[in-house]
Symmetry: C7
Subunit: 253 residues, 7 copies
């Protein structure tokens, strides 16, 4: 009955302060982020790397449909962790904001501006009644004035800028890995290696191409590129991280 | 009194996060899906197969009125599992979206686009107060650029793309069956056989034509076709799955 | 106090899912249907029969004012069971829909279309907050393209097509009776006999004309006809089902 | 504390179904009707009689201000029982509907039509949130196509047609009295006698003119007439029902 | 803790029926009326008398600002008892209604019409959610067609017409006093004497001018007159009811 | 846990009547007034005095920013006690009303009219749901037709006129002091002395200029004047009430 | 379970008064302010200093993205403490108000006017239902008529003017430090020294440049200047407060 009572208490209510000044609904939304598989963003000298861990619950599921990396504009990519349907809403919101910026000012939106548009939108869902917060964290990476920029949005609606970060499951362990191994002078390939190493470190040391998502935004071309399975496999091989499919799944295609 | 108290707790409230980051109303809506009979979708080389299990509670009920497969557009079919009245709302929504696409762009809507229109619509009912989530899962199958595509929408509003999937009652058992027997090189007839075999596997090995729904979307003709009782009976016979009506019902018509 | 606590729990709330995926308010609305006296619909070769059981709580009540059969359009009749005031709302809704169809398309509305208009309307009251579901089930019978059609709407907003069905009190017993005795080749007179036999079977074998409502929609004329007391009495006599009024009521008029 | 807890439970909530399919707020509204003094309606060969019991809590209260019989239109009168302020709202609603009918169709509204306008209005207050049901029952009596008609509206929004009925306090006893003594061939005078007899039967056999309200709608003239104290006294005398005022109140005027 | 629990239960909710058909919020609003000091209205042969008891909690409070008698129109005065701020709202409402009547019909509003405008307004606050009832009773006195009329509005929104009445604190005792001593043939001076006698009877037999409010509406002049302190003192002297100020307050001005 | 439970009960709800006819939210708002430091208003022969007690929690806080006396119009000042942010809303409301009066009628608003505008506004927040009452009391002082007037608004929305009054902390003690020492023939200087004496009486007999606010509205010039620190210091010296700053704060400026 | 129960109580409700006149939601919002790191504002002879403590939870987080000091207009800066996402909303509100002032009046907004615009906005969120209060305190510093002004906004919506203040974590300790060491005749450099000394006093006596934010508004130039890392480092060195990075973080860049 205890679990029962506990559970019942959260089927109602709106987002208000607790006596110690916390917003429980926002904190629970952060738990929703932790329930999602990890996503990583790394800023390098010449671009931004986005890498994500994907759980494919069935070999019949198309890996590509577990979308955790999205193109927001030519020069901006977004990786997400947490409640997938909420992520789609925020991605759509970001894309519309980017288009509006093109139309209004005739130029691409800044990465910081876009991030703050999104966090302001998120904050509204934590203060005004009648809706719950978004249960998702985003990593927004792109090029602004030729410089790579990397941001995080959290469920409270706070924007943070990072050199490298992880969100979602195993965030603590992954963030420690990144802090110990981050090299600010690395290039995109170095960033990809670090991201894959980190993901592998919480996956028994190896990864399957189908369970990884990978994308970069190159500082020179200012363009977002999402990697295919072959490219991912190549990178995993180069980094000696390529895992083996289970025998009974290997001949699936 | 315990069942009582349990039950009372869910007669109120809106969809908010629990302390561990879950959305109970969405999870309960998933239970509503499991309460519905199974629906199966299978993607083959030359088209998509939709097959559903139907419970006909009375021989006086018209089998055809237990609608679980619907035509959304010429080239797209949708099978559902769960709360029937909710399914009708989503099907209507999908049809209107398909028509809008025809009017706006002068071309048929993409299967992926249509699915995501529907999941965005579903997501709204999980975040904004004043309504409950949809208690239904859809299997959206169709042809896009000549290629068969097969999608799922779940009550959280997440889209997934599948090679083959089952939703509703016995999902676990059926999905295992599909994983073990799916042949990516099969054609439509092979897909139909697999779908009927799977349904029969959770129905004592045989099926009555009236308790099965069957439809295909052919990749070449790009057209949705719903099968009549005779066609279903033929397929069941060919696959050695034809069950016998109970004696006292046999002479009903 | 237990009954008390039980009762208090249902004076509030909106329609949401229970942990096992059920919608209690919809299920309670189904109980409201069962609290109403029985209504029966029977599809025959040349038309549809609607027959209802009426409880006349006082000999001073005008039998005719206990309205359970309504004309929705020239070619469509509706019988109801459950909360009477709710039934009136849905009947009015159906009539307006039928008129709108006449105005828009210059032709009578189809029986299936009209039924689905009504069930979509019902579904809204089970998903959007601020109102309770309709506590009523309707039997919609009519002629479409020269063919008799017979539908049910239930409080969840699901449409079903039937050969013959009963709703309201004693549904289980009546439905069994219909299943055992339904003859798909019967004509309207046969349908009337079956309907009256069924009603009598749960009323000690006989019926009073004032406690029965009877109507048909003829396939040839495509017209709805509600029977008067004399016609009902004749049919009861022909079927040897005519009951006797209590002595002290007999000389009331 | 028990009465306390009981009481507290009904200071909140909206009208929804209980597990057994009942609408408690509607049933409690019916209790509000029973808390009001009795009102009686009797249909006769040549008109309708409305008679009401009035409690005058103080000799200083003007009897005439305890209004329980109202003119809705030239040819329709309404008697009420229950929550007085609610009754006034419904009477006003009925009067406006009658006027609208005059304006729109250039003819007096039908008694049945008017009654159903009122019951549809009442039903809305039992289904849509944000308001409580009306705690009042009305007896609507009038002439339609030269024929006397007599209807009841109850708090659920159901219309009933009667030959004779009682609502409010002592309904059961009064209804029995009417059933035993109703003569369908009586004229208006006979109807008045029956109504006064019935009221006296639950008032120790006699009545004070100031505690009775009396009105008729004559079938020939199609006009509503409310009786003055003298007329009531005359009728009471003729029926041998005239009570005596208490000594200390007798010289009040 | 018991008082605590009791109290908590009434900090929420809207006005709905209790199982025995009562509206608790309306009954509690009646308690709010009883918490106010008494107000009396008396109808005489040639006009209406309004008299009120005022508690002046501090000698520094201006007696005149404890307003319990108000002019609603030239020919209508209103006395109130209960929640003062609520009374002001209803008085303002009544004044606007009186003005609207002047503008629309070019003649003064009837006393009964105005009273019913006010009670209809009050009723709305007892049925529609989102607000509490008015915690005030009004005595509306005025001249209509040359005749004195005297009405009461209570928190349920019911209008009553009286020969003489008391509302507020000590209502029971005062109403008994009025019933025993009311003389329907008295003139305005007689009415004033009765009103002051009644108020004194629940104030140790004497009254201070500052703690009494007094006004009349004269039938001949059809005009409302509010009495000043001197006039009140004269009337108290004439009736031998003049009390003595406390010594320490006597030299206050 | 008891304090806990107590506290929880007031985090929800709207303003409704308790069984004994009280409005708890209004009474709690009165407690909010008592939590504020005292404010005093005194009406004299030739003007009105407003004096307030200010707590300066830190020597670094600008005394002038603890605003408790406000100019509402040239001829009207307002002192407040209670929730400071609520006071600002009402002051703004009053100022707008005063301006509207200037624009509409070309003349300054009356003190009584302005007060009643404010109290009507306050009352709305005690009856209509969706907001809490104002937790503040105002003292409105000004000149109307050459005469000094002094009003109070309380959280229920009731206006009172006073010769002299105190609101906020120590109201009881201060009001007693005023009653014992008020001289209706005093001039503005006498009023200032009384106000400062009263404030000192609850502050160990002396006051710091920074912890006092002082203003007058002169009857002849009809103009509001707020006193500076020097003027306050002079008045405190003249009345022998000047306190000494604490040693460690003395050299702060 | 106790912590559980405690916690559950604050997942619902709106801002209303407690029995002792407090607004718990506002007090909990004040706790949210205390959960944020400290911010300090100091008014000097020739300008205003804003200094903030920043916690950088990971060396990979860009210090600059932990924004606690913002430019509101050329001549006004704002430092915040508390819920970061809420702060952003209020800063945006302030900026829009400043722009509106430019557009409407062709001149820069006054510091006091802008502060009160913000506090009025904050107050609305504490009185009207449907939203929670802002969990943030702002320090608004700027130049008005050539004079430095320094204000605070708190979660209740009250504006205060200060010579020097601290908000957020360690407010008590910091405010004491400021009171003991504030020199009203200091210039901007003196103000910077005091601010850094104060922050160091609650950080073991030294500070890292990356964990400090610093800005001034100069009275002569009337312009806001935010300091870079180098400038902060210089000021820390000059004041002998420069801390050492942890060894393992030192070579991060």
């Amino acid at each position: 009955m205890q679990g029962q009572a506990q559970q019942q208490a959260y089927d109602r209510g709106i987002t208000i302060f607790s006596p110690d000044g916390r917003l429980y609904q926002v904190e629970y939304a952060r738990e929703a982020v932790k329930r999602g598989t990890a996503s990583i963003g790394i800023r390098t000298e010449n671009g931004v790397v986005l890498a994500v861990d994907k759980r494919i619950p069935s070999p019949l599921l198309e890996d590509s449909s577990v979308e955790k990396i999205h193109k927001a504009d030519d020069h901006i990519g977004i990786a997400s962790a947490g409640h997938v349907a909420d992520a789609r809403q925020l991605i759509d919101f970001a894309r519309r904001q980017a288009q509006v910026n093109h139309l209004r000012y005739g130029e691409p939106v800044g990465v910081e501006t876009l991030t703050k548009n999104v966090t302001d939108h998120i904050q509204q869902y934590t203060q005004v009644g009648g809706a719950r917060p978004f249960g998702v964290a985003l990593i927004v990476g792109g090029i602004e004035n030729g410089e790579p920029r990397l941001f995080e949005t959290d469920p409270s609606g706070t924007p943070y800028e990072w050199k490298a970060l992880a969100v979602g499951a195993d965030r603590g362990e992954l963030q420690n890995y990144l802090e110990e191994n981050y090299d600010p002078e690395a290039d995109l390939d170095g960033g990809i290696s670090l991201a894959l190493d980190a993901l592998a470190s919480v996956n028994d040391g190896s990864l399957l191409p189908s369970e990884v998502g990978l994308a970069t935004v190159d500082a020179e071309s200012e363009s977002f590129e999402q990697f295919g399975l072959d490219q991912i496999e190549t990178h995993l091989e180069e980094n000696d991280l390529l895992g083996e499919e289970d025998a009974d799944e290997a001949d699936d295609e």
